[in-house]
């Protein structure tokens, strides 16, 4: 378990953090995810990569955590901890830093779009693996990513950043 944890905990943490946007919750997610893995190790059939399995569990736990947080309601402290990125791209674009603007716009994407962009670009998951993690058809994976990129282009355009596409 220590080897598995050592190898994958950062990846799990980052994926979880991008979904829940709260470090404390993301850290709690890690222990929940690996505890589940420890309990269900016998059920892992080896048909998919370990990281695909881990990310699928992380996603499920993150969505559950988000639902719990919505049920409880946001207190002031939690609300302050969540980064407000709605107007950041414009501010950043004024600095003419396309890279930073891109990163800010990536943060401003919807949870569905964020997770698919992260899974494909950062976690380097194939169409089939993303479909398995998110639980959607493979064609939906492709179209969802395309529309996530379209949304990203719109956000950048709104911030005054031209990239030559679309």
């Amino acid at each position: 378990m220590q080897v598995l944890y050592g190898r994958h905990h950062v990846r799990v943490f980052r994926f979880g953090l991008r979904l829940v946007r709260d470090e404390q919750i993301a850290e709690d997610l890690i222990s929940e995810v690996f505890l589940d893995v420890w309990r269900q190790a016998g059920k892992f059939e080896g048909r998919s990569a370990v990281t695909t399995w881990l990310l699928a569990i992380t996603r499920f736990k993150a969505l559950s955590a988000l639902r719990r947080r919505k049920d409880v309601g946001l207190d002031d402290e939690t609300a302050n901890a969540i980064e407000d990125t709605s107007d950041d791209p414009e501010v950043v674009a004024q600095k003419k830093d396309t890279g930073e603007a891109l990163r800010k716009c990536l943060t401003a994407l919807s949870p569905d779009h964020r997770e698919i962009v992260d899974l494909v670009y950062y976690h380097e998951k194939s169409v089939e693996e993303v479909a398995e993690i998110v639980g959607i058809p493979e064609n939906t994976v492709k179209t969802r990513l395309f529309y996530a990129r379209k949304k990203l282009a719109e956000l950048l355009k709104a911030a005054g950043v031209e990239r030559g596409w679309p």
């Binding site: 980052r14 993301a26 850290e27 709690d28 222990s31 962009v117 950062y122 990239r163 030559g164």
Partner: protein, 235 residues
Amino acid sequence: MMAASKKMLDREPSEIEMLLPFHAAGTLSARDARRVEDALAGDLELARQYAVIREEYAETISLNESLGAPSARAMQKLFAAIDGEPVRKPSLSVSLSARISEFFSRLSPRTLAWSASLGAVALLLQAGVIGAVLMKNQTASFQTASLSLNEPSSGPITRDLSASAAPTRALVRFAPEARIADITALLDTYQASIVDGAKGGMFRLQFRAMGKDEAAALLARLQREKIVSLAVATP
């Protein structure tokens, strides 16, 4: 320009276009990667979009890498939770064999050696007892392998040797000069054994079962032995 961009955003993406991000991440199959490469080589618009995708790809990695790593608290919490989990019971067979091997591994080599010796003695004793019981209950009989149709089929067909073929016995007096070695050699020659002690200087010898004539011939031959002074038939 704005109108053209809006038009591009509104149109449905092509199959190749949707594969571009996966090509940038290197997760396409060899066949799809070749298709994308071929399309990129002949389509400037697609190549421009691919350059944008490469930029998105790099910045997504940069963004995720900037998120840092979790604190040690997460690991402590996990392993504390694992320690608090109930011990999982292995299957019965595994448990039993594990317990047996654990028991033997706890014994010292000396104890193990003594236990093995004790086990061997117990086995020998058991074999002796079984053998004695069998010998006691066994009559001198044998069972035929074939079955005659004339015989009653209620039980095994046996012939009792003890009733019809009694061993031949003789009373023998040995010559005073006979040595033990001579007597032993004679017993070997005749395949005989002494079944009764020297009463009045006579030994009762037992031979294999034989007919009347053969027994008489045997006695005559025995009588002619140098170390035998007297040999007479006896029941």
